[in-house]
Amino acid sequence: MSLMLTKEDLAKYPFLKQSAAYVESMQLDLGDLAAEEYSGILRKALTRIKDSIDRNIRPVDLSDPESEIISYPLSLALVYGSKSNWLINRFATIEAKRVEEELRSEPGDKILEIAKSGFSWDIEPANLKLEWEELSFSIPLQPYLEAASGFNDPHWKLINRYVKGGRVFLNTGSLARLISEGFKVKIIRRASERELHNFRIPDALAPYLDEILGYAQENMQFDEELPKGLVSDARPPCIVAIMEDVKAGKSLSHMARFALTTFMVNVGESVDEVLKLFGNVADFDEGKARYQIEHIAGLIGSRTKYKPPKCDVLRSFGLCVGMDEFCRDAKHPLNYYRRKLKRMSGSGGKTGARDRKKGV
């Protein structure tokens, strides 16, 4: 038996089929929403985006679910219209977190209903009682892997899940987390679809887009700018380990070299600094190394600056040396570096200062 989803549910979970259908039934044009009569909705949409910029996770206002439902596509249009990957990511992340919080107070059968309506996942109720937990749902491998690939905690790795007969068994909390991540991925993936490349916000809404961009600016700069040159204390453990091998003159695997070089280039080290690093390695050939580093830095060849491999890849190649507290929230070594830098500068100590010479 299918559960009835209420208007409040549609407001809370904008990714539901029914929410989209509701918005469609209003037959509104995006440009119309700038009109005075919809100012309440517009205000809600703007608040929604600003909340995400401020990382403010606020439950939806259920006193007026209708305007809440319509405010979502409007805020999404503004976010897509900004063409800022930073904003799209931030909005998706915070919306997903909000959904996860809301799901936490829902009963299991409703979560199942939400998952089925929001995504085409073939979820089934299960009744698997283990020693100390109950796995109440199962989901096929493919959608699980797709949604969980965004998580870094080892607990989410397929090998650490209860897998049987092509299905992954989950408890209620995990399913809620998976739904919110699925929602996040949906928002981000949509942004790279072709129809959105040429999307432009209607002129009537342009001033509001400017308002958002102005509001976001300060945060964006803070998130994207890295100090130029390596800050030793912010290095992830994998990079530290590779550097120690280099120091000891050990010869490195191709992947270790690649990871180290891309990491150094991306934190703003010069080709010469990176070359110096490898000076100790036994089979060092300066001419060849310089060529390769310049290539990786995007100075020659395809002009693409290569990024270090993701944590998953490093792990598969045996270069992950174990996690520390920052690793748990990062799925990429640069991501780790950025977070740790932020924490270091936040703590007010002197550790945030540059220390290029000590880097190696």
Binding site: L130, E131, W132, P140, L141, Q142, L145, E146, S149, P154, H155, K157, L158, I159, N160, R161, Y162, V163, K164, G165, G166, R167, F169, G249, K250, S251, S253, A282, D283, D312, V313, R315, S316
Partner: protein, 407 residues
């Protein structure tokens, strides 16, 4: 490569029935070829049916023939982004080169290209003398290597694909690669649309990478009681429990000492029966031994799963656009066929017999150096600097391996 090999390959392909070259969903696959002596892969070819593929092969006689694991809207497009990826088979590549078999001492050699140090057996990761990683290898295969690869295939299918991933018998095919090992192609919808990240999770799953036993029910309660999974549980949860049971059951005191601290090993060894009985009880009880903690359990689990994890070339599994050998094509480095193996009869499958493509005729060859080799029912070697007449398949094998020349 010698003209004689090309001529024999050409004869083989002329005599082949077109339908033997059938590949599921052929029009959506990219085909690729490597010519004899050629270094550049001829790629982005599309064939609508086996007859047109056969026609091309007979005309050009390539040394190696591949098709994509992926399905494309336009397999003939030269730009990968224009091909229009529609999904891909999931492929497992089991290569006996990756398996540490004892027979490698008999037939494999390595040499450090830097300092010249050499040795026999499985090549070291870096030279034990100078530490460099430029190691040249001369590897051969024998019945034992291929048997080890076959065991690995059975392990992947029976231990992982069927029970955990729910793959049914009609969803996968096993192929002898024509040289060093086997390929498993998993078709069907379950894995078809998986991205590289998802495929990596599958590869890590069968390789035992990233296993965290705490995620599988091993816990220490507040009052210090160790609880853990049941051997009947699904996935890695039950697998770890069963592996620990089996490991402890057959372990000597020395084996245990290698896995856990000496005092724990001793207590575990002395109370073996009791331990095994309590982890097999319902509900299982994982504690009760002196000095035995969650950490020792973790170490024990890691030691126990060693024989269960699969040796695959993970790059092949992760890649959603891999080129793989066509069924019934010849392997240019062995002259043997890439052959579909009936999985129900795999135990009795003898690749060095059944994948022989040239069953008649003989050839006079000069052998530079070769370990003992068997092709079909014919055995040869070890021998060096010798000219002799051998059955065609064996002769072509040695020529393709670069160990002999036609005379």
């Amino acid at each position: 490569m010698h003209e004689i090999v090309r001529k024999e390959f050409s004869g083989y392909y002329s005599g082949l029935r077109a339908e033997d070259l059938e590949v599921p969903d052929m029009p959506q696959r990219e085909f690729a070829f490597l010519q004899f002596g050629g270094e550049v892969m001829i790629r982005h070819m599309k064939f609508l049916d086996p007859s047109s593929l056969k026609e091309y092969i007979v005309e050009n006689t390539p040394a190696h023939i591949y098709h994509s694991s992926a399905y494309y809207k336009m397999p003939e497009a030269t730009d990968m982004s224009e091909k229009g990826w529609l999904g891909a088979d999931l492929v497992f590549d089991v290569d006996s080169d990756h398996i540490r078999t004892k027979c490698k001492e008999r037939h494999d050699r390595w040499r450090c290209m830097e300092c010249g140090r050499d040795g026999t057996g499985f090549p070291p990761e870096s030279c034990p003398n100078c530490g460099m990683k430029k190691i040249d290898t001369r590897t051969w295969i024998c019945e034992d290597c291929l048997e080890a690869a076959k065991k690995e295939v059975i392990n992947i299918i029976d231990e992982y694909l069927v029970p955990d991933f729910g793959v049914s018998g009609s969803d996968f095919e096993v192929f002898f690669s024509g040289h060093r090992g086997y390929h498993i192609h998993v078709r069907g919808q379950t894995f078809r649309m998986l991205s590289g990240d998802g495929r990596r999770e599958i590869a890590d799953y069968v390789r035992g990478i990233g296993l965290d036993i705490r995620s599988h029910g091993f816990r220490e309660t507040k009052n210090g009681i160790l609880i853990g999974p049941d051997m009947k549980d699904g996935g890695w949860r039950g697998r770890v429990a069963r592996a620990v049971y089996e490991f402890v059951n057959r372990a000597s005191l020395e084996d245990l000492k290698e896995a856990v601290a000496p005092s724990v090993a001793k207590s575990l060894f002395e109370n073996k029966e009791k331990f095994l009985k309590s982890i097999a009880s319902d509900p299982p009880y994982w504690g009760g031994l002196k000095g035995y903690t969650l950490e020792s359990l973790e170490k024990l689990a890691i030691a126990s799963i060693k024989d269960l994890i699969c040796n695959i070339d993970e790059r092949v599994t992760i890649d959603s656009k891999r080129l793989i050998r066509c069924p019934n094509s010849l392997h240019g480095k062995s002259g043997l066929r890439t052959l579909r193996v009936d999985y129900s009869g795999i135990d009795n499958f003898d690749p060095l017999k059944e994948a022989v493509a040239f069953r008649q005729g003989s050839i006079r060859i000069y052998v530079k150096e070769s370990p003992r080799v068997r092709i079909g029912d014919e055995e040869l070697g070890p021998l060096k600097d010798k000219t002799l007449e051998v059955p065609l398949a064996l002769g072509l094998y040695l020529i393709c391996r670069g160990a002999a020349e036609p005379r």
